[in-house]
Amino acid sequence: MKKSRRIEGALSCPFFNAKIVEVESPLYIFTGKGCAGRSTFAASLSILLARQGRRVIAVELFPLLGKTSVSRIVSTQPPSIRKRITSIALHAERVAKEYVLRKVKVEILASILARTELFRYILSAAPGLKELLCLGKIWQLCKDGKRMGYEAVIWDAPPFERLMELINIPLLAAESTKGSPVYREALKIVSLLKDRSRIRLFYIMGNEDSMLIENTITVPSNNMGLNLTPGIIIINKWEKGSEAECSNSPDSTITFNHRKIPVYRVPYFYKTSRDIPLMIIEELERCLKRIT
């Protein structure tokens, strides 16, 4: 009796919980066609969840402009919303340093190691290592999200084709990194991405690509052999039809990989750049309500 109580007590402590519950925070991925509005939707979901009083973390891999797109969009929001949204850019060197520190556990040693020419050389010369580390970091955020105070992880991901390449890297690097902690963590993100119960993949595309919807998803997906299926397809910047028709369009599902995927149309909001997130948030809320 005494023993079982001790076990119960141990299981309820955060450390054990983290080990038992594989992923604490759900992962929302926003991918699709380039410039279709991935970042806008990622930021809108962050704002929507923040309005409900939840704390979220938005991540972006190797942003070209240093600052993440989500942080730029969120910056127009009031401080009460802003403080609940953390936006981080994953830069390979910083992630690698953090990773080494987590594993080596001695800060001085980790920082010396990260500064050495050989370390930086291996990081840049070994193909896929940077991507592996960053994928591992996303998994880490999902795993420890709640302990860190985040209820959701939002990934403003690259365009779908690039995302498929990125996810494929751990599989390609399997032979050379097998058995290593880097590989184990990256493989977990791949299994997480395939698990529809723990992730929600939003595929955002433009109006002009809507006729080619099956091609844009199936070609890269089949090439990689991953069969990553979107959870929701959003056709953004929709022009035809009135706003009332948008979310209740008769052709609002598509069959892909023997699954019916809901398709939503979000109208194009012309020349109202400052208000776009607010309008998109309303549309997104309506989409999510219908799914849940």
Binding site: L64, S69, R72, V104, T116, Y121, A125, L172, S180, Y268
Partner: protein
């Protein structure tokens, strides 16, 4: 260059045109349209693209002029030409790191395009080469490819990864001890195989690295020469794309490159009148008067020069599923070329 050689005049006599820009801005469409235009103007173009012809652009008419780049096969072919010893070539193909580089490494597509462009340009079978670069960081990857590859093959760190001979001096021994420790920690974190494969890759590559670097140096000279290569920057007027385009222009500017053509694609006009205005202003080579777009161009003024032509193309909501659809864009560009 004849008076009627509009393409030659627009691109200042260059016979290589690189289309770069943000993702989803319409780079591939513009590249195909320029190809179609070049054919109409009596040129023999070759379009390099990574977009699968079976996927987004099923244009049979343009097929003989499109070179679809498949990174692994391009890089393999290139290596086969470089390797005089078949054993070295087989050894490289077996190396799992090389396989990753050829298929999934960010930049492998751009490197493959660069090499294919260099060989085709040297062969001279075509008189106009159009490069459709994938993804938005593309100008960075191709402009820095030579420097990046040189850094990898000529780095000091390489001699610690593959030690040559041994010295007995104290400073050398201390450094060697330090590097052995670092290597051990890295191999614990990333797996021992990764470092072994990396060493194996460089050992196999040693004999051909000079030829490899030489090809990239020549390709680098071609794409940075204003007499040979001209750049077309394509953007759409969304906020994010504007930020990234500025970044692209700054990167080109760092190498003294100004694009010959800056295309504002997918502009949504609120009325028919706006479309007419846009066509008129694009032809006059003045700023477009659609107020939303004026500040976009103004913010980029210092990153373009007087020879850079600015062109606006309206948004066409239906997809590019046949050659007629592509012709809509060609009809938009053609009068612009003649007027400029």
């Amino acid at each position: 260059m004849s008076e009627k050689d509009y393409i030659g005049r627009l691109f200042q006599g260059c016979n290589i045109v690189v289309c770069c820009g943000t993702s989803g801005s319409g780079k591939s469409t513009i590249a195909l349209s320029l190809g179609l235009l070049a054919i109409n103007h009596g040129r023999k173009p070759l379009i390099f693209t990574t977009v699968p012809s079976t996927g987004l652009f099923p244009f049979k008419e343009l097929k003989p002029f499109i070179k679809e780049i498949d990174a692994p096969s391009s890089l393999n072919r290139f290596l086969k030409n470089l390797c005089s010893d078949a054993e070295i070539y087989k050894g490289l193909l077996k190396n799992s790191l090389y396989c990753s580089i050829a298929t999934a490494f960010s930049g492998s597509k751009e490197y493959a395009i660069l090499l294919e462009l260099f060989f085709e340009w040297e062969r001279g079978k075509y008189d106009f080469y159009i490069v459709d670069l994938p993804f938005s960081e593309n100008p960075y990857i191709i402009l820095e490819s030579q420097a990046k590859i040189s850094r990898v093959f000529e780095s000091n760190a390489l001699k610690w990864l593959i030690p040559e001979g041994s010295k007995t001096t104290t400073p050398y021994m201390i450094r060697k001890g330090g590097h052995t420790l670092i290597t051990k920690i890295i191999s614990r974190l990333s797996g021992r195989n990764l470092l072994d494969e990396l060493r194996d890759f460089f050992i196999h590559f040693k004999g051909i690295s000079d030829k490899f670097l030489d090809a990239f140096k020549k390709a680098d000279m071609i794409i940075k020469s204003p007499k040979i290569t001209s750049y077309v920057v394509v953007m759409n007027p969304c906020q994010e794309a504007v930020h990234i385009t500025r970044w692209i222009l700054r990167r080109l500017h760092r190498d003294g490159i100004f694009p010959s053509l800056l295309i504002l694609n997918k502009i949504r006009a609120s009325s028919e009148r706006d479309i007419k205005d846009m066509r008129a202003t694009s032809r006059d080579q003045r700023l477009p008067i659609i107020s939303e777009e004026v500040h976009i161009i103004e913010g980029m003024r210092q990153l373009i020069d007087k020879n850079t032509k600015i062109m606006c193309i309206p948004y066409f909501p239906s997809p590019l599923k046949d050659i007629e659809a592509l012709m809509r864009i060609v009809h938009w560009i053609d009068p612009f070329l003649k007027d400029n």
